[in-house]
C-alpha cells in the first residue's frame, strides 16, 4: 500500500489519562442554571442526530422518527428542530422523502457499519448508494483492527477514498473509541481522520460500550482544536452512544465551550448521536418553563 501524504511524518502528542480525567471532573463541576440552562437545552435539541440503527428498523419506524424530528413536542411549537435523522442506507430514501424541505439532514451510516469488516470496494459502493439515495451526511467506521495494528496508512487511504466517494455529502468518521482502548489511540485516530478528509469525527457506533465517555470526547475536542490552530480548518465533533440525559448533554456543551469556544456550539460543528436524549431534554425544558416535572409518557417516542 502506498504511503498516504496524510500519514507521512506526523506524531500525535501523548495523552495522560489521569490528567484528562481530572480536567473532565473539573468541567463537570460547572453549574448551569436558569437562562443558561434553557439556552443549552434548546441548543442540544438543535444538535441531535435522531438515530435508529436496528436490524428491525422498518419504513414505518423511520417515518415515525422523521415526524418526531419535524415536531419534537406538539405542546411546544417554538422549539428548534433536530439537526439530522440517522439511518441505515436502505432507509435513506424513506427518510429523505419524509424530511423534504424541512432543513433536516439525512445521515446514513455506511462502510459496513458497525464492524467495518468488508472489502473496501463494497464499502465504497455502499457509500455511493447512500449518497445517491439522498444522504446529506455519511457516517463511516474506520478499520479499528488496522489502526490498532499500527497500519495508519491503510486507514488514512480508506478514509480518503470514502471522502471521495461521498462527493458533496459530509463525512463523519466513527473511531469506535471503545475498541481503541487508550486515549493515546483515540488521539492518534482523531488526527488521522482529520488529516484524511473527515468533516466530523465521531466517537462510536453505539453498538459497543464504553462509547462517548467524557475523557474520550475531551481528547477528541483537543485534537480538533489543535487541527484548527494548525490549519485554520474547523472539524466537527459528534459524540454518540451513552448520552441520554439533559445533564450529560449540558456537560458536553460546557466541555465544548471551554475547549473549542463559542464557534463550535453550532449544529454545523457539533452533534449528539442519540436516540433517547431528545425526550429527556424536552422534559427538562417543560420543567424549566412550567416548574413541573413531566412523565416520559408525556413525550412521543
Amino acid at each position: 500500500m502506498q504511503m498516504s501524504p496524510a500519514t507521512a511524518s506526523f506524531e500525535s502528542p501523548p495523552i495522560d489519562t489521569v490528567g484528562v480525567e481530572e480536567r473532565v471532573a473539573r468541567l463537570c463541576s460547572r453549574s448551569i442554571k436558569k437562562d443558561a440552562k434553557l439556552q443549552a437545552l434548546h441548543l442540544t435539541l438543535s444538535m441531535i442526530d435522531l438515530t435508529t440503527l436496528e436490524g428491525a428498523d422498518s419504513e414505518g419506524k423511520v417515518r415515525q422518527l422523521c415526524a418526531k424530528a419535524l415536531q419534537l413536542h406538539a405542546a411546544l411549537p417554538d422549539l428548534p428542530h433536530v439537526a439530522a435523522v440517522c439511518v441505515y442506507p436502505a432507509l435513506v430514501g424513506v427518510a429523505k422523502r419524509a424530511l423534504e424541505g424541512s432543513g433536516i439532514n439525512v445521515a446514513s451510516v455506511a462502510t459496513s457499519f458497525p464492524a467495518g469488516q468488508a472489502p473496501i470496494e463494497i464499502k465504497l459502493l455502499e457509500v455511493r448508494k447512500a449518497v445517491e439515495a439522498g444522504a446529506d451526511e455519511v457516517d463511516m467506521v474506520i478499520s479499528r483492527g488496522r489502526c490498532l495494528a499500527g497500519d495508519f496508512a491503510y486507514s488514512a487511504d480508506e478514509i480518503a477514498s470514502v471522502k471521495e466517494a461521498c462527493g458533496e455529502a459530509h463525512l463523519k468518521v466513527i473511531l469506535e473509541t471503545g475498541e481503541l482502548g487508550t486515549l493515546d489511540a483515540v488521539r492518534r485516530a482523531s488526527d488521522l481522520a482529520m488529516r484524511s478528509g473527515a468533516d466530523f469525527i465521531k466517537t462510536s457506533t453505539g453498538k459497543i460500550k464504553p462509547a462517548a465517555t467524557m475523557p474520550v470526547v475531551l481528547v477528541m475536542l483537543e485534537a480538533i482544536r489543535d487541527h484548527y490552530l494548525r490549519t485554520g480548518e474547523k472539524i466537527g465533533m459528534k459524540p454518540a452512544g451513552g448520552i441520554s440525559t439533559a445533564k450529560d448533554a449540558i456537560r458536553h456543551l460546557v466541555m465544548v465551550r471551554e475547549t473549542l469556544g463559542q464557534d463550535w456550539l453550532d449544529p454545523d460543528l457539533y452533534r449528539f448521536g442519540a436516540s433517547s436524549l431528545a425526550n429527556d431534554v424536552l422534559r427538562q425544558i417543560v420543567k424549566q418553563r412550567s416548574g413541573i416535572y413531566q412523565s416520559f409518557d408525556d413525550f412521543s417516542l
Partner: protein, 292 residues
C-alpha cells in the same frame, strides 16, 4: 607521643610528623600559616597542628560542595563498600591509633577497646547504607490515582563540630553522615586532635573520594561561627555538651535555615543507630499518576 621523644637508640633520630589538615582529598597546611600545639595531659607539647582560619573553613566548604552530588550519586552498595574499606584501614592501623589515644591519657586497654569499637562502628554504618532507605522510606496510599512515595535524600553538606571523644566520637559523628550520602566539613577543636588528623590519612587510603570528609583543626571560636553561618552548608551536627555553643551556632544557622542536630554526649560508646543517619536526611515525596 613517641615521635617527639628522644630516640631510644642513640644512633637514630626519629622522623617527626607534621599534622596537616585534610581538605578535598589533600593534606594542606592552614592558609593562615598559624600553628597550635597539641598537648599531652601533663601539658607537654607533643605535636604542632594547624590553626585553621575562616578562609580554611570556606575552602573546605567548597571542597565538600564539589564532592556532594557525586557522593550522593554513588550507589548505596558502593558507599557501603567504601565505609567497609575505612574500617579495614582503621583495623590495620589500630596500633597507631592506640598509641595516639594513649598519648592523650587513655589507658592502653581503653585505647584498644576504643579503636575496636570505632572500627566496628564503621562496619555497622557500612551495613546501613543500603538498608536505611528500605526501613525508613514509604509508599503512601493516597486517595487519588497516583503512585506516591517518600524517600530519604541526604541533606547535602553537613558541618560537624566534632566531639571531644577523639576517635570513637569522631567516627560516630562522621560515619552516619557520609553513609547517608552527605559530605562533611569536620571541625576538630577538642583537646586531642591527633587521632582526627591521622584519621584523615585513613580516609585518604580508603577510596573515599576527596572532599567527602574534610577535617580542619583549630579553635572553635574562630571556625564554628563562619561554618554555621555559611549559606552553602545545609546542616550542622553539633557534638557538644555545652548548650551555649549549640545556641550560638543555631543562631548563625538561621541565615539559611540549616537543619541542626545536637549531640550532647560525652560517652559515645552506645551512640549507634540508624536514627543517626536519618537525622541528616530530608524526606522527599514524589507523586506520579497511575494511568495508561
Amino acid at each position: 607521643m613517641s615521635e617527639q621523644r628522644p630516640a631510644a637508640a642513640a644512633d637514630r633520630l626519629p622522623v617527626l610528623k607534621t599534622h596537616k589538615v585534610y581538605v578535598g582529598g589533600k593534606f594542606p597546611r592552614s592558609e593562615s600559616g598559624r600553628l597550635d600545639r597539641a598537648l599531652a595531659p601533663d601539658g607537654t607539647p607533643i605535636a604542632n597542628i594547624c590553626r585553621c582560619s575562616r578562609k580554611d573553613v570556606r575552602d573546605a566548604v567548597t571542597a565538600a560542595r564539589a564532592a556532594q552530588a557525586g557522593w550522593a550519586a554513588r550507589t548505596a552498595y558502593n558507599r557501603g563498600q567504601i565505609l567497609y574499606r575505612i574500617a579495614e584501614m582503621l583495623e590495620g592501623r589500630s596500633g597507631q591509633f592506640e598509641a595516639l589515644l594513649a598519648a592523650g591519657g587513655t589507658t592502653p586497654d581503653q585505647a584498644a577497646a576504643e579503636v575496636q569499637t570505632a572500627t566496628d562502628r564503621l562496619l555497622h554504618y557500612a551495613g546501613w547504607t543500603d538498608k536505611f532507605q528500605q526501613v525508613f522510606s514509604s509508599v503512601n496510599p493516597v486517595a487519588t490515582s497516583h503512585f506516591n512515595f517518600s524517600i530519604l535524600e541526604p541533606m547535602g553538606l553537613v558541618g560537624v563540630l566534632a566531639p571531644e571523644s577523639p576517635l570513637l566520637g569522631l567516627v560516630s559523628s562522621i560515619a552516619p553522615a557520609i553513609a547517608g550520602g552527605n559530605t562533611t566539613v569536620v571541625l576538630v577543636t577538642g583537646s586531642q586532635p591527633l587521632p582526627a588528623t591521622t584519621f584523615g590519612e585513613v580516609l585518604n587510603s580508603s577510596d573515599v573520594p576527596g572532599g567527602v570528609v574534610n577535617i580542619l583543626t583549630g579553635r572553635r571560636d574562630e571556625m564554628l561561627a563562619p561554618l554555621a553561618a555559611h549559606r552553602d552548608v545545609d546542616a550542622l551536627l553539633l557534638c557538644s555538651p555545652d548548650p551555649g555553643i549549640a545556641r550560638s551556632a543555631e543562631i548563625e544557622a538561621v541565615h539559611n535555615l540549616k537543619r541542626v542536630a545536637v549531640r550532647p554526649h560525652d560517652d559515645w560508646k552506645n551512640i549507634q543507630s540508624p536514627y543517626e543517619i536519618t537525622d541528616l536526611q530530608e524526606v522527599k515525596t514524589t507523586w506520579h499518576p497511575i494511568g495508561s
